[in-house]
């Protein structure tokens, strides 16, 4: 059911530019106004969320340690999984953010009769996640050629590299195949694995469909319903130079693509997609395990009522004396 809700929602989102930019011809609205608003919401929303997280205190230093602590000189410390310095914690974060290290640990439990439990390696989720995120990143960077003139060499190069297969005209981008495969995998495991289906919310399917629709509309434009890139670049350069114009000759497919991207931008800051920002702030990962070396300060630490030694001795003095345990007051 949750999978269906989201599908209907994404189909409805496709309908909007189809009617608005296609049938009604509101090109300025869909080509200029909505993109500006969407980017503004994305940027302000993203900052707002980060600031809101940042304003909450970090009262305790609570890293989840994933290896041997700093101890004796003759015991080898696991400096990346159990860092005791800021540099180590940065290293741990780099591995986490660039290589999804924790996900790489993933195992799959199997319960055989006996009972006999086993925990096999399960790297598919890691692979799917890496494939999805990196192909998405490359696609975004590739699109920078629409927002720069002249196009800087790295973006040109990325395009060439991505099209290295040189199959078809224009040549197929590897990332397009990879991201579709990854999206399909991420979707299928949600639908097929019973536990995952059970925990999945509309908010889990929606971004998958939305990104899928964005990719498909992009592919359609590139290979099947060719859109003239000259006009699109005129529009995109106009937007980034803050002197927007709407050239004629841009098909409705482009407006659909653009509107879906805008939807993603608007949706992003208010959704789970903010894990992009949140992962940097996770206190179990971004802090060093050096609590006993360096005192961590809790900004809201407050005095609490305690049972003092004096009170305790007053209550137990006779017992203590009888047992021969020293006391403060005879």
């Amino acid at each position: 059911m949750n999978a269906l809700y989201s599908l209907v929602l994404v189909l409805a989102l496709i309908l909007v530019p189809l009617l608005g930019a296609g049938a009604a011809g509101w090109h300025t609205l869909f080509g200029i106004i909505i993109p500006y608003i969407a980017v503004a919401i994305f940027l302000l929303g993203f900052i707002y969320r980060i600031v809101k997280w940042g304003r909450s205190a970090v009262p305790f230093r609570i890293p989840t340690t994933g290896g041997q602590q700093e101890s004796h000189t003759w015991i080898e410390q696991n400096k990346l999984d159990n860092p005791s310095t800021t540099a180590g914690a940065v290293g741990r974060m780099i591995l986490e953010i660039l290589l999804f290290r924790s996900l790489f640990r993933n195992t799959k439990m199997e319960h055989h009769p006996g009972p006999k439990l086993s925990y096999g390696s399960a790297k598919w989720l890691w692979l799917g996640a890496i494939a999805f995120h990196y192909s998405f990143l490359v696609i975004i960077l590739r699109h920078m050629r629409f927002f720069t003139e002249p196009v800087p060499l790295p973006f040109e190069f990325l395009g060439t590299l991505d099209g290295i297969l040189q199959v078809g005209v224009p040549s197929i981008f590897l990332t397009e195949i990879v991201i579709l495969g990854a999206l399909l995998y991420l979707f299928l495991r949600r639908v097929v694995v019973p536990q995952l289906r059970y925990i999945s919310l509309p908010a889990d399917y929606f971004p998958l469909y939305l990104i899928f629709a964005i990719v498909i509309s992009g592919i359609l434009m590139r290979y099947f319903m060719r859109t003239d890139i000259i006009y699109i670049k005129e529009l995109t350069m106009g937007i980034v130079s803050f002197s927007p114009t709407v050239p004629s000759g841009i098909g409705v497919l482009f407006y659909i693509h653009l509107f879906l991207v805008c939807s993603l931008l608007v949706y992003f800051p208010w959704s789970k997609l903010m894990h992009l920002g949140g992962v940097f702030l996770s206190p179990t990962r971004n802090l060093a395990n050096n609590n006993r070396m360096k005192r961590h300060i809790n900004p809201w630490n407050y005095p609490v009522k305690v049972h003092t030694y004096e009170e305790w001795e007053d209550e137990n003095r006779e017992l203590l004396k009888e047992a021969g345990i020293p006391v403060e007051k005879e």
Partner: protein, 535 residues
């Protein structure tokens, strides 16, 4: 107490298929064996905690305060500002499900609400409705729900079916820590007077008397004297144990479980023998007579109230540093909370082992050293005379306790000690040890009798790994550095893996330690004949 099914039956009935109905439509079911008795009013009163009353989770009416929704709402708001962890963890989960089969309670019960992701969703669903834009606009579509008494009941059931072991957190790509979420949920529940007695009574005892088990100071002394008699009988060496001694170099803090019941007592005897043999100028305290801290399982405030005694006593006695014994959650508190809460401990010195000259730089601020850090240093520097053959009848494996493993990283120190005092050491499978260790199934205050079925379920993954080394390598001893383990693992072993005993690392040290002036030993610390001394 409920009737515990046999281990064969229990394992065979675990069904990992989730129900047809959405989880929000499945009400909590209070089946005997899956929940713990609520906190007794006298214990709540002793700690000035809200809403003391007699009640049972099976009651329809939990006698909540009239404005309970407001209390939760404000408590939640307050904690979102105080804890970035909570706020971030509420927001960034993508429900990838990597955590699901990492939880020992899920593995042992198949209940989908024991998947860490869903356990957190129990809280998140309420958070979304009241604290997020999406939840306010989209309502149920965003996965949010209103706060009803059924939600509160569900929280009680499932946040007291989590041992705060942090295994899921290790595997989470964002480090979302269910322990943190459970701690917050328990804080919220405590605002309404909802808690369990197995946590509340130890905290009340510890606050008032000085240890979880409510052992008064003169009885503490009796117990220690009794142990010294046993030690003398076994070794011929007479030892004295200083209590509340001013001006001692080191304050030694042990979990009360170690001087309360077998097999912890053998571990405690091991500490006493070691401390005597090396001639350390130390003292125990009968005021700060508890290393553990069940306050951790109520709220940061209760944890701090109990923990405060240790530094206060160290200052009163004028010690140079503190030596902490074998206990799991105790070391979570000591390593990650103590200095922040009750420090700075600037009245003490950077810990230095007077026998080896080793300075414990990794404890230079908190000034508290783990006893396996200490003992491994003694062994490395050849300070101890050891005869590992006195543990020849023992073939041991080592259970990493959750907190020393995942909130500290104390992994190789205990192994080094074990391998120097015992010739037969075997590791359990790689996915079940070190940072990936499985919980005993009874942590975070859940080691009570009425919860036995869930304990056996949650302990199944640990027991199964022990079974592997028992069947393949004839392991007959499960050693550990945790007092809750020493209480919880024996029934677990008896249920799933008969023939395996449980001991602390320092029990093995005590057996192997050659003391000056000792007689030829006939038995180990348990009174069992040593190899070659049978009959």
């Amino acid at each position: 107490m409920s009737k515990l099914p046999s281990s064969d039956n229990l394992a065979g009935t675990i069904d990992y298929r989730p129900p047809r109905k959405s989880w929000m439509e499945v009400p909590p079911e209070f089946r005997p064996g899956t929940w713990s008795y609520p906190g007794k009013p006298n214990n709540l009163k002793a700690l000035d905690l809200p809403n003391p009353r007699e009640w049972s989770p099976t009651d329809d009416d939990w006698q909540l305060p009239e404005n309970w929704q407001e209390i939760i709402y404000e408590g939640f708001m307050d904690r979102l500002e105080k804890y970035r962890s909570l706020k971030v963890f509420m927001d960034i989960c993508v429900r990838c499900g990597a955590c699901a089969d990492k939880c020992h309670y899920f593995i042992g019960s198949g209940d989908p609400k024991n998947m860490p992701v869903l356990r957190a969703e129990l809280l998140r669903s309420v958070y979304r409705k009241d604290f997020t834009t999406a939840g306010k606009i989209l309502g149920k579509l965003s996965g949010s729900r209103g706060l009803t008494t059924d939600v509160i009941k569900e929280w009680f059931l499932y946040f007291y079916q989590c041992t705060e072991c942090r295994r899921c957190s290790l595997f989470c790509p964002y480090g979302i820590d269910t322990a943190e979420i459970t701690m917050m949920a328990r804080e919220l529940l405590n605002l309404l007077g909802i808690n369990i007695n197995w946590v509340m009574e130890p905290v009340a005892n510890c606050y008032k008397i000085g240890n979880h088990l409510g052992i008064p100071p003169h009885t503490f002394k009796d117990i220690v004297d009794f142990m010294c008699e046993d030690i003398e009988e076994i070794t011929g060496v007479k030892i004295d144990v200083p209590l509340n001694k001013k001006g001692a170099d080191v304050l030694v803090v042990a979990p009360s479980g170690d001087y309360f019941a077998d097999p912890g007592t053998y571990t405690f005897m091991g500490y006493l023998m070691l401390l005597h043999e090396i001639g350390l100028d130390y003292t125990f305290s009968t005021y700060a007579a508890e290393g553990g801290n069940f306050g951790l399982f109520i709220s940061q405030e209760e944890m701090k109230r109990l923990n405060a005694k240790i530094y206060a006593e160290a200052e009163r006695l004028g010690v140079k540093w503190i030596l902490g014994c074998e206990c799991g959650h105790m070391w979570r508190v000591k390593n990650q909370y103590m200095d922040t809460m009750n420090g700075p401990a600037d009245f003490m010195e950077v810990p230095r082992n007077p026998l080896t000259g080793t300075v414990f730089h990794n404890a230079k601020s908190t000034k508290m050293v783990h006893i396996t850090e200490f003992t491994s240093d003694l062994i490395k520097n050849n300070v101890l005379n050891l005869d590992p053959s006195r543990n020849e009848h023992i073939k041991t494996t080592f259970h990493d306790s959750c907190n020393p493993a995942r909130a500290m990283g104390l992994l190789d120190e205990p192994r080094y000690v074990i391998q120097n005092v015992c010739n037969n050491f075997v590791e359990m499978p790689e996915q079940t040890i070190r940072e990936k260790t499985f919980c005993c199934g009874s942590g975070s205050g859940l080691n009570n009798e009425e919860f036995m079925e869930m304990r056996m379920r949650g302990g199944m993954p640990r027991a199964n790994a022990v079974k592997h080394v028992r069947d393949n390598y004839d392991v007959n001893m499960l050693s550990c550095v945790c007092a809750i383990d020493r209480a919880a693992l024996p029934p677990l072993m008896e249920y799933w893996t008969p023939g395996v005993d449980v001991c602390g690392v320092h029990e093995l040290v005590g057996n192997a330690l050659i003391m000056r002036g000792e007689k030829e030993r006939e038995t180990d610390l348990r009174g069992e004949p040593l190899p070659g001394k049978e009959g």
